[in-house]
Subunit: 145 residues, 6 copies
């Protein structure tokens, strides 16, 4: 059950690299469906919504099928755990995030019956609500879809 | 207080990329001190120890200075939060990890008085203690040192 | 110290069963004091308040005795942990609940000096703030009073 | 997207009711696939394994398909959150559980493309490792499969 | 419902002060029942047991009454949350504690019907399993009994 | 690496003792820099801000140096974990705090290269948003600076 396609690595690179750096990984990126976006907020809801909206606009999931919404939602939350590191809150704890994100949908496993999975990656900064008083953060969530 | 050097991104790339892919980022890597390693375990203690041992062997921190040990320890834990996503336990929860890690020490900020910071990144797989029943995971912790 | 009366099971059944289904358990229900209610919200405060208000209206606890308020509050929080499964937040995480609840006060143990205990149970749905994009959830909290 | 079959309620009743009480719900139980079991332990791993083993023995999931194993694992953990209420540990925290469990696989939604979901329910006691020093606990986890 | 006796402050001082410092607070200490002890361990179970054993030896609670055991257990866990700050684990996370503790039983409120409450306080050090690589930690848990 | 100055104990005493009680510890207090304050709120942000504002007004940290802000922020959060015991939220969970706090900056270790550390202590009450329905709480966070 070896991983044929590393959807988590692809999502992380899509969220983290600039255009020039990304070029080297275009072959990998072409193996999957994906979308990218940005969000800056103290509000966890807005971060979740930004990802959900981007995913729906790019039709990466079927919007009115709950099992796809459910898979995405849990992948987003898991990615946010990495960003917030143990306390899933942003503004409530007097901090703010500036994040780029990428969502990848693909078939990571060689076996056909493993089907499709989704990866959500965040990369950016977290810190005080004062410009510059911040450091980098990353998060990755993966789920079957 | 703009970030001059993205130690988190560097650590993540060092943990995630293969040798060939890494070549493109050598200029960035040369701006910092770093070490790399691997650990596979169901035991959280062993994962923490593997990183601490690698860091000390490469003299990235001063072993008998507690403030450096303290900074590293919290960065490791924060990185593990990303890997375990909300429940900081591995074997206790019947899962196992196979991780590559990188630790970066450098000066991310232009201002001299921001001094040195440390970044710990993990990349690999987490899953059932059965080969192949696993998916990717990532984690990044950053602290002032 | 065997359990004479299963106040947790009774609370769960009271929150989960419809009127017809409940009939079979009337003998059990008659052994305890209880109240029931409903709440739909994205707001954790409102869920807590709904239970506290119902309990006071039915005089299940003495409103101005802090030890009873304290016992109830912790039982409510523990029940909410089951509903939210590891992240005690609702709207902050862009989800909503529609819950029925029951609070039971009784003497679960045969020994007289074990005295009274309180059980709080929730049953309903949790999901996206879109009708139908939700699944079932349950929670039970128990405390001495 | 109304729920046609309440797999969470069914799983909870299967874990909680005795044989006589169960009879009333046989019509509901016949709409789904399920298995039941028991586990008493201070060890979280053993609780997880007991459920996984029962599920595989009854062929409720395809053992060597990771996406099914993954769906089940997360449903078990979510159910354990309800049992442990905020601190996913048992023996490490000097407590023990005696639990009955049920796993249900079925189609909770009317829409065909919502497909199959899995529900894991625990009911029993949690407390000090001394007989009788314990109270009831419940947990329910639900996932798409 | 003003607090007549600050059992939490008393417990903290009993755990934190040396004999000479304690003398000044003897009048306060004489208003309550209490016991004191010490424990050094990487094992959360041993820390919990050390407190429970001391409490029973001093007959601060009735050993075979579960409601008293239950009240004490939750107060211990809450105090440990302060010591471990967000991740209730010690050795699993490669750290060790050296703690003094005090348990106080008394009537903090003027109103007779508020009855007795219990306070558990820890004070000491937490850190790497290497002498000196540690800093101070404190924790306080309070419950009605 | 023995502790020369117990900054955590000093911070706790500064937050907990009244003026008369404090007199006995003046020799200890004179070994460190510190500030004190009060905050009553249901809002976690306001509690964090109150401490940050007091610290800056007393110039205990350099306001525009992120590494000092970062050290303080994490010490505040860790102290709040003790106050909130496992669920870092106040008003969201329908409770309120009335806290005194103290922040201490000093050199706890004899070794010169251990440098300065910061301790944040809270002491006060937490409870229902009704006067008197509350009990004591304490929290201590320590970080290298």
């Amino acid at each position: 059950m070896a991983q044929a396609i590393q959807i988590g690595k692809i999502a992380t690179l899509l969220a983290m690299l600039d255009d020039e750096e990304s070029r080297m990984f275009e072959a990998a990126f072409s193996q999957v469906s994906f979308c990218q976006g940005k969000v800056g907020s103290m509000n966890t809801q807005k971060v979740i919504s930004a990802v959900e909206t981007a995913v729906k606009r790019h039709q990466l999931i079927e919007e009115d099928v709950y099992r796809e919404t459910h898979a995405l939602y849990h992948a987003i939350l898991e990615a946010l755990e990495g960003v917030t590191r143990g306390r899933l809150a942003i503004g409530e704890m007097m901090r703010t995030v500036g994040l780029r994100f990428a969502v990848v949908r693909g078939k990571p496993y060689k076996e056909a019956n493993e089907g499709e999975w989704i990866a959500v990656a965040f990369y950016g900064t977290i810190g005080a609500p004062v410009k510059g008083l911040e450091h980098e953060a990353i998060g990755l969530g993966i789920n079957h879809i």
